[in-house]
C-alpha cells in the first residue's frame, strides 16, 4: 500500500522528520487494521474496534463512522467510539463537515470547529458533547463515496490534529471503504442467489400446478412457456367422471412474482369451483366473486373457461375479457373467432346475474378449437415484427396436419426465438373433435370408441295432451331399462314431455285430429338419444327460443327446461315424410356407462 504524501485538504505536509519508530507504528496499525477489515464478515463489528484503536492511537476523544443511506440523502452513524454513543444518528447528507468530506471526497482537518462555517452544532447540543477539533476522511472507492470516518478532539499536546494524522486516517479510510464495499457486494450476491433459488422453487411449484401432458388420444392438449422463470399465464384440464372435460386458459395482468401468486390462486379456485359448477358461465362468475373479495392492487385475470363434451364434440365456453379463441376447420380452412362477452375477472363482483357469464355453445363439427394468450399474438417473429392474429392463423393452418403435441410445440417454437426469452408468457391450448377426426384420419381407439346404436324403445302415439302421460311412462321405462337413477329419469321425462307438449300445442295446434308423435329411444355409448318426430308442417327452429328466465311470466319456459337438463337439444333435418325431427341427447350417469 502506498501512503500518499499529500493530504486531500491541500496542505503541504512538513518534511518527514518523525522518528522511525513512530512511522513503523503507523504502518503496523494500518497493516493490522486493513487485514482485520479484509477478513471481517461483518464490517460493523470490526468498525467499532477499529475506531477504538484509532482513537486511542491518535490520543483522540471520540470517533465515528458514517455511511450514506441507500437513497443518498442522509448520513447514518453505523459505529462509534467515545463517551457518547451516537450509533443510529442520521444527519442530512449535504450538511456538516462530514457531509462536505463525502461530497468533495476529500479529507478535512478542522483545527477549531468554532471557526468552521460547516460545523453543525446541533449534534453537540443533542448529545451534550463538546467538539473542538475534527479530522474527517472520506470512505472513497473510485468515484463513489460510501461515507466518512471522523475523529474528534485530540486530548494531548496542543489538542490539535496534524497533517500526519490526516494521512493516517485517509489510508485507514481507504481500507475500510474497500472492506465495506466488498461486504456489500458479497451480501448482494448472497441475496441474489437466495432470491434466484426461491424463484426457482416458485417456478417449480407453478409448473406442478399445470396439468400433466395429455396422452395422444386425449382431445385436449396445452402448452405454457413462461417469459421469466415464473409465469402469469396458466391453463388447466380436468376430466369429470362422466367423460366431459373442464379446461381453461388464463392470463394474469402483470408479470413476475405477484402475477405468479395471483395465477396460483386463480388456478386453485378454478380447480375447486369446477367440481360444483354446472357450466363455464357460472364457474367464471363464482371465480370472479371470489377474486373480488380479496383481490387488490388493481390486478385482474382474463380467462376462457370451457366444458368440452367429446362424445358430441360440443364446447360450452365463457370468455372473460380474454383473447378470442379460434375455431378452425381444416377441411374448409375457415376460422371462426369466439369474442369475449364479459369483462376480466377480479374487477367488479356480481357483474353477471344468477346465470353467470354468457355461455356460447360451439360445435366443433370436425374442427379444432384454439385458445391462447396474448403472449402468442404479441410475440416477436423471426422477422422482428409482431405475430398478430393473422400470423397465428397462418401458423395454425401450416401445422394443421400434425399431432396436437407436435403442433403446439411447432407453433410455440415459431415465436420462441432460440436463445432469447419471450416478451410475455405464452399459453396455447387445443381441443380436438375426436368424434369426427380431422383430415379424414381414423377415429382413435379408446374410451370414445362407442358401440353401435342400441335401440331401446319406439312408440307412436297420437299427438294429443291426453297421451302425454303415456309418453312420460314410456320415457321412465326407457330410463329404467338403462338402469338410470330416479333423478336422471325425472329430468329426461320432463325434457321429453316438454318437447312433445310443444308438438301438441304448436305443431298440431291442440287439434283433436292431430297427427302422431314418434319417439325413438336409443343408447349410443354413454349417451341416451331420443328422436322425437311429428308429421306436421316443418317449423323454423329459429322461432323457438328459450325464454329469458330472469323474466317472470307464464309460458316460454319449456325450451329452457329442456336445455337445462339435456346435454344437447336440437332440430335436425327431418327424414322424408317426417315434419320435424327434434333430437335430445342426455349423457348417462357415470356408473351406468
Amino acid at each position: 500500500m502506498q501512503v500518499q504524501a499529500k493530504t486531500q485538504s491541500g496542505d503541504t505536509p512538513e518534511a518527514d522528520t518523525k522518528p522511525q519508530g513512530e512511522e513503523r507504528d503507523h504502518l503496523l496499525l494500518i497493516a493490522e487494521m486493513t487485514r482485520e477489515f479484509a477478513a471481517a464478515n461483518d464490517y460493523k463489528a470490526v468498525a467499532h474496534t477499529t475506531l477504538e484503536r484509532i482513537t486511542k492511537y491518535m490520543s483522540a476523544e471520540a470517533a465515528s463512522l458514517f455511511l450514506l443511506s441507500d437513497s443518498g440523502d442522509t448520513l447514518v452513524c453505523v459505529a462509534c467510539y467515545g463517551p457518547v454513543d451516537i450509533t443510529g444518528l442520521s444527519i442530512p447528507a449535504a450538511t456538516g463537515v462530514v457531509g462536505r468530506s463525502v461530497i468533495s471526497r476529500k479529507g478535512l482537518l478542522v483545527r477549531d470547529v468554532s471557526q468552521d462555517r460547516d460545523f453543525g452544532a446541533a449534534v453537540d447540543a443533542k448529545t451534550g458533547f463538546t467538539t473542538r477539533s475534527l479530522l474527517v476522511a472520506p470512505l472513497a472507492i473510485g468515484k463513489e463515496c460510501l461515507g466518512a470516518i471522523e475523529i474528534i478532539n485530540r486530548t494531548t499536546g496542543d489538542g490539535l490534529f496534524s497533517d500526519e494524522d490526516m494521512m493516517l486516517l485517509e489510508t485507514l479510510a481507504r481500507a475500510a471503504a474497500l472492506a465495506i464495499n466488498n461486504f456489500r457486494l458479497t451480501h448482494k450476491i448472497v441475496q441474489q442467489e437466495r432470491d434466484r433459488h426461491e424463484l426457482e422453487l416458485a417456478a417449480e411449484i407453478q409448473r406442478d400446478l399445470l396439468p400433466q401432458a395429455s396422452t395422444r388420444d386425449f382431445p385436449i392438449h396445452g402448452i405454457n412457456i413462461p417469459a421469466r422463470s415464473v409465469s402469469g399465464d396458466f391453463f388447466d384440464i380436468i376430466t369429470l367422471p362422466d367423460g366431459r372435460i373442464w379446461f381453461n386458459v388464463a392470463d394474469v395482468s402483470g408479470k413476475g412474482m405477484n402475477a405468479a401468486l395471483l395465477m396460483a390462486k386463480t388456478s386453485s379456485l378454478f380447480r375447486c369451483l369446477a367440481k360444483s359448477a354446472e357450466n363455464p358461465g357460472q364457474l367464471l362468475s363464482a371465480i370472479n366473486n371470489e377474486l373480488c373479495e380479496t383481490n387488490s392492487h388493481g390486478m385482474f385475470v382474463t380467462m376462457v373457461g370451457g366444458l368440452f363434451d367429446p362424445a358430441i364434440g360440443m364446447v360450452r365456453l365463457a370468455n372473460a375479457g380474454h383473447e378470442p379463441p379460434l375455431l378452425f376447420d381444416a377441411r374448409t380452412e375457415r376460422f371462426t373467432a369466439v369474442p369475449a362477452d364479459a369483462p376480466p375477472l377480479g374487477i367488479a363482483p356480481d357483474i353477471a346475474g344468477a346465470d353467470g357469464f354468457p355461455v356460447r355453445e360451439i360445435y366443433l363439427a370436425g374442427g379444432t378449437l384454439y385458445v391462447f394468450t396474448d403472449g402468442l399474438t404479441e410475440a416477436t417473429t423471426f422477422g422482428g415484427g409482431m405475430l398478430g392474429i393473422d400470423g397465428v392463423r397462418a401458423l395454425i393452418r401450416d401445422h394443421a396436419d400434425q399431432s396436437p403435441d407436435l403442433r403446439l410445440k411447432n407453433i410455440a417454437g415459431a415465436v420462441k426465438l432460440p436463445g432469447q426469452s419471450l416478451r410475455d408468457d405464452l399459453t396455447l391450448l387445443v381441443a380436438e373433435d375426436m368424434a369426427i377426426a380431422p383430415m379424414g384420419a381414423k377415429p382413435p381407439a379408446g374410451s370414445l370408441d362407442t358401440p353401435a346404436d342400441e335401440q331401446i324403445l319406439r312408440i307412436r302415439v297420437p299427438g294429443r295432451a291426453d297421451r302425454l302421460k303415456l309418453i312420460r311412462a314410456a320415457t321412465e321405462q326407457a330410463a329404467k331399462f338403462v338402469d338410470a337413477p330416479e333423478a336422471w329419469s325425472f329430468d329426461l321425462k320432463m325434457a321429453v314431455d316438454e318437447a312433445c307438449q310443444n308438438i301438441v300445442r304448436h305443431a298440431y295446434k291442440n287439434s283433436a285430429e292431430a297427427g302422431d308423435i314418434v319417439i325413438d329411444f336409443r343408447r349410443r355409448g354413454g349417451l341416451l338419444e331420443v328422436d322425437i318426430m311429428d308429421f306436421a308442417e316443418t317449423v323454423d327452429p329459429e322461432t323457438i327460443r328459450p325464454r329469458d328466465i330472469t323474466e317472470v311470466r307464464p309460458g316460454g319456459l319449456g325450451v329452457h327446461l329442456i336445455k337445462s337438463v339435456c346435454d344437447e337439444a336440437k332440430f335436425l333435418p327431418p327424414p322424408p315424410g317426417v315434419g320435424n325431427l327434434f333430437k335430445l341427447t342426455k349423457r348417462l350417469p357415470p356408473k351406468v356407462q
Binding site: L468, D497, E498, Q501, I549, V552, R553, L557
Partner: protein, 109 residues
C-alpha cells in the same frame, strides 16, 4: 291429477295431487284463479305433486301475479321434490314464497 280446496281460518289451502301436465294444468289454473276471487290468502300444498311441467308452473306464476295485483297473499307449501326440481330449474324457487309446511304458511300470516 286431483285437487282439494279447504278453508282454514279464512285462508284457502289448495292441495294438488298427482301429475300436473298439459292436460291437467288448465283445471289447476282455473281452481287457483277461482280461489283468488274468494280468498285473500292462498296456500298451495304441493306435497302430493308427482310431476309438474312448464304449463303447470305457468299456472302457478299466473296465480302469483294475480295475487300481487289484488294484494292477496300467495305461497307454496310442502313442495314435493319433483315439483322443487322443476321450480329450481326454472329459477322460480327464489320468486315464490315457499313454506316447509301448510302450518308454517298459516303461521306466517
Amino acid at each position: 291429477m286431483s285437487y282439494e280446496v279447504k278453508n282454514v281460518n279464512g285462508a284457502a289451502i289448495v292441495a294438488l295431487t298427482g301429475d300436473v301436465d298439459l292436460q291437467t294444468s288448465p283445471q289447476v289454473r282455473q281452481k287457483l284463479l277461482e280461489s283468488l276471487e274468494q280468498y285473500k290468502r292462498i296456500v298451495v300444498d304441493l306435497s302430493g305433486v308427482t310431476y309438474i311441467e312448464s304449463s303447470g308452473v305457468a299456472s302457478l306464476v299466473e296465480a302469483f301475479q294475480v295475487s300481487r295485483k289484488k294484494g292477496s297473499a300467495f305461497s307454496l307449501a310442502n313442495v314435493s321434490s319433483a315439483a322443487m326440481r322443476v321450480l329450481s330449474l326454472a329459477r322460480l324457487d327464489k320468486v315464490f314464497t315457499i313454506h316447509p309446511s301448510v302450518e308454517a304458511a298459516l303461521a306466517q300470516g
